[in-house]
């Protein structure tokens, strides 16, 4: 519904821009010559039919893939390649299409793992669980508890993640990404495989994260209803090429998008 009015006032400068990025695996062109930007505080959706290059694009943004061509500018810093941990230090967090959690660890420990980059006490203090390591742990635990409260998962705090239903695992994964206090949060199909109620819950959490923490969000999603409701702007990819970019309403009316989704009569 956010897109109904004009530009959202809370949306600011460009946080990340992708310029003319191309990526191919051998002979397969996953992404070719794509440019778009993500502005501070917005919810930006990347959509497209299967094999359009959405996940590849996300992997390029967080440095997992290195594009053969093109530039990525994040917070004013331009680079052609970035390693995943640089992205993490720089403030980019993500969730995965297939949940990637430590299945044997509790929900609490999984989210604590998201704080790893923020921990500074050295190995020996941590081994002793004493002094600075203990103080730090208490501080981090507090932040994690806030996230647990935020995502309403108090009742599964001590439950090993492997025993949780899928919808809750997704929520824990979101929690772990939030624990990094990212500036840019990449969500790869956060609603995939969820039932209607879980989707609604997750949508609310995405909006709340954006609203409460002011986090910029880029998400890939198949559910058109969800995309149109949540996002401020949408970029549409098809066969690795950008075919549209704009507000949900603009995109919905775009003939190229309609053709890509429904097929064209030959």
């Amino acid at each position: 519904m956010r897109a109904a009015g004009g530009p959202d006032v809370s949306v600011g400068d460009v946080l990340l821009s992708v310029e003319d990025v191309s990526l191919s695996f051998g002979g397969v062109r996953a992404v070719s010559g794509v440019s778009f930007d993500i502005r501070k505080g917005e919810i930006r959706a990347i959509i497209g039919p299967n094999g359009a290059g959405k996940t590849s694009m996300l992997n390029v943004i967080n440095g997992f893939y290195h594009p053969q061509k093109g530039r990525i500018t994040f917070k004013g810093e331009t680079r052609s390649r970035m390693r995943p941990h640089d992205a993490a230090y720089g403030g980019i967090a993500r969730t995965f299409q297939n949940v990637a959690l430590f299945r044997g660890m509790t929900a609490l420990d999984n989210i604590m793992a998201g704080r790893t980059l923020k921990m500074h006490a050295n190995f020996f203090w941590q081994l002793l669980r004493y002094g600075p390591a203990l103080r730090e742990e208490v501080e981090h635990r507090k932040r994690v508890e806030e996230i647990i409260d935020f995502l309403k998962i108090q009742e599964i705090r001590r439950v090993p993640v492997g025993r949780l239903p899928y919808g809750l695992q997704k929520r824990v994964e979101l929690g772990r990404a939030l624990a990094m206090e990212p500036e840019l949060l990449l969500l790869d199909e956060p609603m995939a495989g969820m039932n209607l109620e879980e989707k609604e819950d997750m949508s609310r959490f995405v909006l709340d994260v954006n609203d409460h923490y002011g986090t910029t969000i880029a998400l890939i999603e198949h559910d058109m209803g969800v995309v149109m409701d949540l996002s401020d702007r949408v970029v549409v990819l098809d066969h690795g090429i950008k075919i549209a970019d704009g507000t949900p309403d603009e995109v919905k009316r775009n003939q190229a998008v309609i053709d890509a989704y429904l097929g064209v009569a030959h």
Binding site: R141, D149, K152, Q154, E155, E197, R204
Partner: protein, 656 residues
């Protein structure tokens, strides 16, 4: 503590002041927040509530007005109740999980101008029915999340209201004014309006006075010797009379500490952490706990399983006698002591019952086996009987006089009589003053000489002098041959089996008794897993022939036990079916307090009921269901029906 410590204080705000003086440094309330238990002493609660009251006053809350309280068991909502009462306004708690329609009814009927709500969910819900509650001016919310961008012309954070009040209260003139407000309040003024759950139609607003409530609570606090050192966990709906009585009223009268769970889903874990000394659970919760324990034991190793069943058997033989202080042979005591170390102690610890001194159950008849299971492992579980109109208590079992089929003698100062048609009628200190804005209904339940009709059929047991409740007066029916048919009695027998979650018995004005059953998905699902039974949905599992076989065995056992009782032998179950969906309060089939609404079910499942009596082997049914977000859908199914062999009726029974 003196038994009648509340004497002199005839309103809850006056009690709050007394507690701040008497137990100032003792904990009044706990709440788990961000994983850590936060504590407020009586002095702190007193301070917050005063500030809150002034804040509310400045926003226009006036004496005699109503203010809705919508949400779960959270300190700020309890303080909203207190703050309203400080101003002489009347709090009207509403069930947090009520759908928008029910909420609109109560809010409109109670004429609320203000509402204190928990979070965004409740704000959204109320805003969606705003056109039906024209008098509502402003909402106060506890949880800020998601509400930042809302239009705040009609919305305030409770924290801000409290902060504003605190600032205003710095002025001694305001403080003096507030003292006078509290002082001038009369005990006979309405203290709260509790809406009944609506087992019998739309809900009615029961008006209770401060003085009556406090007198009733003082009697039971003395009866169970509750003191400021006790602890209770408030996990049952805020809008239910039980929570208001057991936690709010008894807490203020005795000064004990009320702990609020972190969230409704964590109540079981929180129970274990808090270790309450006073505990209340409806029979359904106790049933659920037992089912869960039994299922987990099925999955345990052979050694543990053997150990568990052996010592549970020991407890069955000796536990209750030991608890009642009766004679038990030394060998029995020794075995029980070993069992206590190995099984009962750890089990109670897991359930959070380690420190429970007094536990009550009420609301529905409790299965005798269920009841004695908990007593046998050493939980001092007792029964009470009452209703909203009486401010909960009418009877309660004293320690040492516990029988599973009675609800105990009348409480101190409660006068109970049985009318000619077998209905229980009472006069009690906590008796309600009227139904809000409904003089006709009030007159309907009052007898000319001032007794209240409960609508329950019952009698005093000759041996023990305790009251026995059979069923709702209007539910006790007769088969066509004149045999008595108390549906609940039969249903309760069925529901004791972990595989059966809900049962609806039919038979009034029919030739024989039939039942419709709901399977318990946890129990039957676990059985299916162990036996490689594949199913894709609740509906499929419920219709599985093997599941029918299991339930048929249960029904047969119930028939055997019915046959053993002369009066009941004619009411054996002849045919049964398993419903394709769970009975759900969202569909109006059971109340929010999980009582079956018979009339409604009779209409809704008419095709199935016809099939039960016309001899067909299956029937088609299509029902509308309401999802949690209020949308509607349809479920259709073909439900199978099974016939039962009945036990021979003893010759004497037929003659009677």
């Amino acid at each position: 503590m003196a038994p009648n410590a509340a004497a002199g204080a005839d309103t809850f705000p006056k009690l709050l002041i007394r507690n701040a003086h008497l137990y100032g440094a003792r904990p009044a309330m706990r709440h788990k927040d961000l994983g850590i238990w936060q504590t407020w002493t009586w002095r702190e609660v007193h301070e917050v509530v005063r500030a809150y009251a002034v804040g509310l006053h400045n926003l226009g809350v006036k004496r005699g007005e109503t203010i809705a309280i919508v949400g779960g068991n959270r300190p700020k909502l309890y303080w909203s109740v207190m703050a309203a009462q400080v101003l002489g306004a009347i709090p009207v708690p509403v069930y947090a999980d009520a759908v928008a329609d029910e909420l609109a009814f109560v809010l409109a009927h109670a004429d609320v101008r203000f509402a204190a709500v928990e979070d965004q969910e409740q704000v959204d819900k109320i805003q969606s029915v705003m056109n039906r509650v024209p008098k509502l001016e402003m909402m106060f919310y506890d949880e800020k999340r998601g509400l930042r961008d809302y239009d705040h012309s009609k919305l305030r954070a409770m924290d801000d209201v409290i902060a504003d009040g605190r600032k205003a209260l710095a002025d001694p003139a305001v403080a003096a004014w507030l003292d006078k407000e509290i002082e001038s309040a009369k005990g006979s003024d309405p203290s709260i309006i509790l809406y009944t759950s609506g087992t019998t139609g739309t809900s009615k607003g029961v008006v209770l006075t401060g003085e009556g409530s406090i007198n009733a609570a003082s009697d039971t606090v003395a009866f169970d010797k509750l003191t400021e050192t006790d602890v209770a966990l408030a996990y049952l709906p805020l809008a239910w009379v039980g929570d208001h009585y057991l936690n709010y009223a008894q807490g203020l009268v005795s000064g004990f500490c009320t702990a609020c769970p972190e969230s409704p889903d964590t109540a079981m874990a929180d129970l274990r952490e808090i270790g309450p000394s006073f505990y209340f659970a409806p029979p359904r919760t106790l049933e659920l706990l037992l089912t869960r324990v039994m299922i987990r034991m099925e999955d345990a190793g052979l050694m543990k399983r053997k150990l568990f069943h052996y010592f549970i058997d020991v407890a069955r033989r000796h536990g209750e006698h030991i608890l009642n202080g009766e004679h038990v042979p030394l060998s029995g005591r020794l075995l029980y002591a070993i069992g206590n170390v190995l099984v009962y102690g750890p089990l109670k610890n897991v359930l959070g019952f380690s420190r429970v001194r007094v536990a009550y159950t009420a609301g529905e008849a409790v299965g005798p086996d269920l009841f004695s299971f908990y007593r046998s492992i050493g939980l001092n579980l007792k029964q009470l009987y009452g209703q909203t109109e009486a401010f909960l208590y009418l009877t309660a079992q004293p320690d040492g006089e516990i029988y599973s089929d009675t609800v105990g003698p009348a409480c101190p100062n409660v006068d109970i009589r049985i009318s000619e048609n077998g209905e229980v009628q009472f006069k009690s200190p906590g008796m309600f003053s009227c139904y809000f804005k409904d003089a006709a209904k009030t007159a309907e339940v009052m007898t000319p000489d001032g007794y209240v009709k409960t609508g329950d059929a019952g009698f005093f047991d000759e041996k023990t002098g305790h009251l026995k409740i059979i069923d709702r007066t209007k539910d006790v029916g007769k088969l066509n041959d004149g045999t008595m048919f108390p549906p609940k009695y039969i249903e309760n027998k069925l529901k004791f089996y972990p595989n059966i979650r809900e049962a609806v018995a039919l038979g009034d004005k029919h030739d024989f008794v039939t039942v419709m059953l709901n399977i318990d998905l946890t129990a039957v699902g676990s059985w299916a897993e162990r036996n490689n039974v594949v199913y894709g949905s609740y509906q499929e599992l419920a219709g599985h022939p093997l599941v029918y076989d299991i339930l048929e065995k249960h029904v047969a056992e119930v028939n055997r036990s019915l046959a053993a009782d002369k009066v009941m032998a004619g009411a054996q179950v002849k045919r049964f079916l398993i419903l394709h969906k769970e009975l759900d309060p969202d569909d109006g089939e059971i109340t929010r307090t999980l009582k079956v609404r018979r009339g409604f079910i009779a209409d809704r499942y008419a095709p199935l009921i016809n099939a039960l009596y016309d001899g067909s082997n299956e029937a088609d049914i299509s029902t509308e269901v309401t999802f949690e977000d209020g949308r509607k859908g349809t479920i259709s199914a073909r439900v199978k029906i099974r016939g039962m062999k009945t036990e021979p009726i003893p010759a004497m029974g037929k003659a009677a």
